[in-house]
Assembly symmetry: C2
Homo-oligomer: 344 residues x 2
DNA sequence: CTGAAAGCGCTAACAA
DNA sequence: TTGTTAGCGCTTTCAG
């Protein structure tokens, strides 16, 4: 009776519930937030009123009061990049699971747009932000706008200007896996078709290859190494080059699945059967890898897992209020399919 | 590793600005919202105070008052689908441009998750929602949760249960373009490699092909038509089938770029040069189409444009408060590259 | 255990 | 033109 009744046709508020349950709004708030010291009897009466009225608390009003929105921002520099999606999926997954929503923002790689997004995100009081790179792992500067004390994580990139977590794949480890598998298959002359030198990944992967080889007592032979673009056409051309040498490789480690597809097509032209005559391993585990003939053995880039980790680290930072400037290298995963096999 | 601890920071409010400018909060609000009848002198004083204090209004507080958040929800059933990204890009583009933010939600195609997302989106007071399909165009039921009076648009899908706008590509028109081009090149026996029958697109496209042929006075020959999966391997197999017939086609219209890539590889095996011996046209304009050898002539699926339209229609509905249950077919676009050419 | 009261930061009548 | 006054719907001391 002491609480003003409001028109029930509009939004149902905590007041309405209080009135219906014969308690005060404060009490309703308490059951809403699972605050202890509410009698079971009162609680059930309130709960009953809530779902009788079909009550849904307003996150806006709540946010205004508690200064937190259960919302995070995801700013990507490339919404078309081949790797972007999977990482986003991982982020969305853990965010949703923990009751957070994610704002999707595309900066197109432009600082000005990033600034603008950061501005509105901060106005909207997001609790944290992920800066996602869709192209290639690399270093980048601080956010285009000082984010004050809101937590940040770098995904598929890293920075030294801020003490925030970064998440990148373990390219080195992935190359070790691929190389070791080929070694285990009995191959001794393993050719490499790599990507452009301006990707850190190409160096990491080559290093992984080289180190694994040397650990197995096999000398590194520069004649077996080629590099070009990441595309199929490059794989095609370089495989031909590699195979037309006097002492050609008996296996090919292609540092992207596209490269591998191109190489397979060259191999086919040379009447070499995969995997009978030559084994081939790709990298990335793109969707099409499984649909090749034969299905491509490859090294999975742990994109979804990286996205998940990004989400987890961000949520953790939001909850604990602190974060460390650590670089997390997420391990790759070896995917055995039919383009490699044990040699006799 | 360095720890970054977050320090509490006192937010600057409209009060602070009012105080600093020697006016009332109401007046500051007025300049903020460009309400007329504020003297130029006062306005500039307020503005000065605002940026001296580095003031940023709280959208939360504002939203609570005005009951609108300049935010929309985007719920996709597939965050890995090949078409999803481009559509999202279009949506994000127009949203950002009009000062809206977009919440990214993945339903994984499950009604329960869609419901859950819708629930929190509505709690967060979004102004509208886009239901995006990442797989294939098709009909679907109403949203998994009654959305009351908030505007909805269906993207890459449509419904008859709700009078809301739907946006789909004009597959028929796209097929007409591809076929007409091949006709213009001088081809008369145009083979078709199609996708699975459980995609509406395959029927629309075949219809476009057939109608264009007949309009040109060329009888439809079922022997020239093949269908299978959308994958490369299918294109490869079906191209072989088609070409091993007594009277083989002199051109191939593949209803996806993947199919076209597979077909090209079969053609290469048969020692047929593209485009010298045979022309080939794809569909979709996936990223890899441009990187084939030769670069693939194809029909662009207008995904980004569709995303944009979805955003525009939604924003329009938000502004006008009304929407119509119309199905918008966005035209495809012909992309000429090097896999087709005029025959002598 | 429950409720009254005081806001969170902003907007919108209505006065002045 | 500008300021006063009420809230938007919720949380949170602090009394009772």
């Amino acid at each position: 009776m002491k609480y003003k009744k409001r028109t029930p046709v509009t939004k149902i508020t905590i007041q309405d519930v209080a009135l219906a349950a014969g308690v005060s709004p404060a009490t309703v708030s308490k059951v809403l937030n699972a605050v202890p010291y509410v009698s079971a009897e009162t609680e059930s009466r309130v709960r009953a009123a809530m779902d009788r009225l079909n009550y849904r608390p307003s996150s806006i009003a709540r946010s205004l009061k508690i200064k937190s929105t259960s919302t995070l921002g995801l700013i990507t520099n490339d919404l078309e990049g081949v790797f972007t999606m999977s990482m986003m999926r991982g982020v969305e997954e853990v965010a949703t699971q923990q009751g957070f929503s994610v704002f999707l923002c595309n900066s197109y790689g432009e600082a000005e747009r990033e600034r603008a997004h950061l501005l509105v995100l901060m106005d909207k009081h997001i609790d944290g932000v992920i800066l996602l790179n869709g192209f290639r792992v690399g270093e980048r500067p601080a956010p285009a706008l000082p984010v004050g004390n809101i937590p940040v994580v770098y995904l598929f990139q890293y920075t030294h200007e801020l003490a925030v977590p970064s998440i990148i794949p373990d390219d080195f480890g992935g190359a070790v896996m691929g190389t070791q598998h080929l070694l285990d298959c009995g191959h001794r002359r393993i050719g490499v078709i790599n990507g452009p030198a301006n990707y850190e990944a190409t160096h990491e992967r080559l290093k992984g290859y080289r180190q694994t080889l040397e650990a197995a007592g096999i000398p590194f032979d520069p004649a077996l190494i080629r590099a070009g673009k990441w595309y199929e056409s490059s794989g095609y051309a370089l495989a031909h080059e590699l195979m037309s040498q006097p002492n050609p490789p008996d296996a090919l480690f292609c540092m992207s699945d596209s490269l591998a597809v191109g190489a397979m097509s060259a191999l086919r032209e040379r009447r070499l059967r995969v995997p009978d005559d030559i084994s081939i391993v790709g990298f990335d585990n793109r969707a099409f890898a499984a649909h090749q003939t034969p299905p491509l053995t490859t090294v999975l880039l742990p994109l979804v897992e990286m996205g998940r980790l990004a989400g987890e680290l961000l949520l953790q930072a939001i909850q604990t209020g602190q974060q460390t400037g650590e670089i997390h290298r997420v391990p790759c995963q070896f995917i055995q399919r039919a383009s490699t096999r044990l040699t006799a």
